[in-house]
Symmetry: C2
Subunit: 462 residues, 2 copies
């Protein structure tokens, strides 16, 4: 039984007044995220350091108060929302870049640092942290780690987990652990670092992150490809990989998305194309990167169904190509409807076939489905646009979502590639994960959090 | 209480006679590994498929019989040794390369496949599985996954875990799970794939592995560098990285190792050098790789203490350079002594300083310490040569080992980078891992294996 009054009383013995928010207006700010759903907490706490987080957790443990760790609230699965009430533990004050260790190519960062600020800070050191969310302006590093975020560069550089070398984290009972470190390799005991990364704030509160960095690639070349045959986009991916080239991005937009972007921003676009593929290569030597780009162009041209291949002439044109991709979701949102965004992933060669399947789904005229995503990773963002208040459309949107999920599983895919399970996917997770495996995950959850106070209501169906 | 008689009786109802070994001579073959320690099992079982593994685990669970999964017995931490008796579960019959999926660049492999055989099979498809153990001739893929093996290419390509996308595994109670799959990204629930990889056979028996592959690099260039100042090797690593180049290998040998190799094989070597550094770059375009190699040479020449830099003229010379590195451990073993091999890892810039510290340790004349390792990863193999039957030397060797371990921890390092904890490191693990964290790892172990029957006696001090 939650004893909120005693919890609040004890909080006040070690937190300052401005660290505890209890008024409705103040709390409302922490009640929603990019899923556009809202859950009001009963209190919001804003600790300044790890010791305070530890004390808060000790109190929450003692008085059985649900705790939802929260970052920049740009999440797309509701991971930071206090669905069971209790307290939001906001990490927005954990804003320090503690260390940039050039010699070992390591950054030590607090979870509340904005992704973009870290990128900027690293530029001065000629270092590079590859995972770069579309929402860099607001998203926090802690959220990126909690959700194991991916983004456009994953095809070459991998996901967030590939860059987390060490953590400081507070367990649900308030104990502090320090798994991993600055080392490139480490097999001393179980890999708690990998387990905590992507655990969606359900196992521990991450209070410090040690990241591996890379030398900053100096050069990039961007290529845009239009096709009148969607599944043939799979062949582009295949031929590029077979040539021994690993681009840093291979993105795909379908015809609905192309047209939404064309309506939304003023940029020349082939509205009649069935698909648009964006390919980028990067590296540290100009001649190398140019050689790769020059190799990709004829490979693309030789693919049946390709109608245009264009290399960006300069940085400005490359940015214009990327704007098309970056504005895809805003353009779709601007259509003024509600939407589901399924974050499905399939083996990369299957992706254009999944896009085609989705494009051919039958549905009422009021509903639109747009798909775009990370073709090189097989990761698709299926955006089903409907009106929530129209129950026929809502029913149909749910039916379509489940159809997409079921087809994904049939193709050997996964229901979420980078957004997380949170509350948006958890009801569908049994489609993918066997009962034995879910039971095992619950036992792991219990090993960390026997009282179930940390981020309850996420991942697992109650 | 173990009920071995009943266990054996039930095994005989579903295994053939040649799948159960009970004679001492037959079992002896499964009683040792590369640690040169020996533990006799009470029975050895050789299942042919996952269903048989599941049935064996069900029986072991019922009759509380310790089960030690085992591969090619090339392990360096004793992970595959039946230290608590019971049964060895050998996976040597799991020999199938089930699928090489070119379009998705995926291999599906059974754990008993020899690493070298997988490499050979992939060549025909122009595909590449980067983790390549020195012991490819005998080591099995399952063991590589269980220990999260690293090897020389980790500096560019990462460790085994970075290539494991999915698993089939049998839990201690016989249930079968299938975490992950062929997908490049997956955040559906906790990352059981990463957790099982490197868990040293203590959480589940891995029966199938889904690997990510890369396009095969066509070209490599190898550079050998001699120094008369050991710590300056750190600057070589730093300058190469700072130039934006990520070599596929940066290896380091100290003077003792150089001389041991010079005595062991007939190859020209600078016996007076304090350090030898081997650098390799690879890629798919000849001009790119050549350009990187040409950039590295003057960078190395500009480092103080460097006495020679030489680019291998051809493949034959490159192989000769690599022979020096590959024969390091055999050359040291040929000195005819017993040895401890510490597999320590520190942030990469620290590594030459750790080597220097070790080189300056005081010890009796009868003892020799040789160090070599993966400089680009900060991973060192410290080889302490002594005679086990001479108690003075044995005592001193233990003292030196602990000194190396303590210094590693002071430098922010880890006691094992790629060999695993097993039985060789477990007594020292509390130097590195806090009590809270060890307790958490034990709770994870219990979440998988509440009866403690799977690979008991490993990682954790009893």
């Amino acid at each position: 039984m939650m004893r909120l009054g005693e919890f609040l009383g004890e909080l006040k013995t070690f937190l300052k007044e401005d660290q505890i928010i209890l008024d409705r207006e103040g709390m409302a700010h922490f009640s929603y995220d990019a899923t556009e759903r809202q859950f009001m907490p009963q209190v919001v706490v804003l600790p300044n350091n790890t010791e305070e987080v530890s004390k808060i957790m000790r109190c929450a443990w003692k008085y059985e108060v649900p705790v939802t760790p929260q970052g920049g609230r740009t999440g797309l699965s509701g991971g930071g929302l206090p669905v069971k009430g209790g307290t939001v533990l906001s990490l927005l004050r954990f804003k320090r870049i503690i260390e940039i260790d050039e010699k070992n190519m390591i950054a030590v960062v607090e979870p509340g640092v904005i992704s973009k600020d870290l990128q900027e800070a690293l530029k001065a050191h000629n270092l590079f942290f590859p995972p770069d969310p579309s929402s860099t302006v607001e998203s926090t590093i802690g959220g990126n780690v909690a959700e194991n975020a991916g983004y456009t560069r994953a095809v070459k550089y991998g996901v967030t987990r590939d860059y987390v070398r060490g953590l400081e984290a507070v367990l649900p009972d308030g104990e502090i652990i320090h798994p991993g470190g600055k080392n490139a390799k480490n097999v001393a005991g179980y890999d708690l670092v990998s387990l905590l990364t992507g655990s969606e704030g359900t196992l521990a509160v991450i209070t410090k992150i040690i990241f591996k960095l890379l030398p900053r690639p100096a050069i990039r070349r961007t290529i845009i490809v239009y096709l009148n045959n969607l599944p043939r986009a799979a062949d582009i991916v295949l031929r590029v990989f077979q040539a021994g080239i690993v681009p840093c991005a291979i993105e795909l937009l379908d015809n609905v998305t192309i047209n939404a972007v064309a309506d939304y921003i003023n940029t020349p676009l082939r509205r009649d194309a069935e698909a648009l593929v964006l390919i980028e290569v990067d590296g540290h030597l100009e001649k190398t990167v140019n050689a790769e780009a020059r190799e990709i162009i004829p490979l693309c041209e030789s693919v049946h169904g390709v109608v245009e291949v264009k290399l960006a002439l300069d940085e400005e044109e490359a940015n214009r190509f990327w704007t098309i991709r970056r504005e895809a979701l805003p353009a779709l949102k601007a259509l003024g409807k509600d939407h589901f965004e399924a974050d499905v992933v399939v083996p990369h060669y299957e992706l254009p076939f999944l896009v085609k399947f989705i494009g051919e789904l039958e549905h009422g005229d009021a509903i639109k489905i747009a798909t775009f995503g990370h073709a090189g990773d097989g990761n698709l963002h299926v955006t089903i646009l409907y009106r929530r208040r129209n129950f026929t459309e809502l029913d149909e949107a749910y039916r379509l979502l489940e159809t997409v999920y079921r087809r994904t599983i049939e193709m050997g895919g996964s229901l979420t590639g980078e957004h997380g399970v949170g509350i948006t996917v958890k009801d569908y997770l049994p489609l993918q994960i066997e009962e034995t495996e879910m039971a095992l995950m619950k036992r792991i959850k219990t090993a960390f959090d026997p009282k179930g106070i940390l981020n309850p209501g996420k991942i697992f169906v109650d």
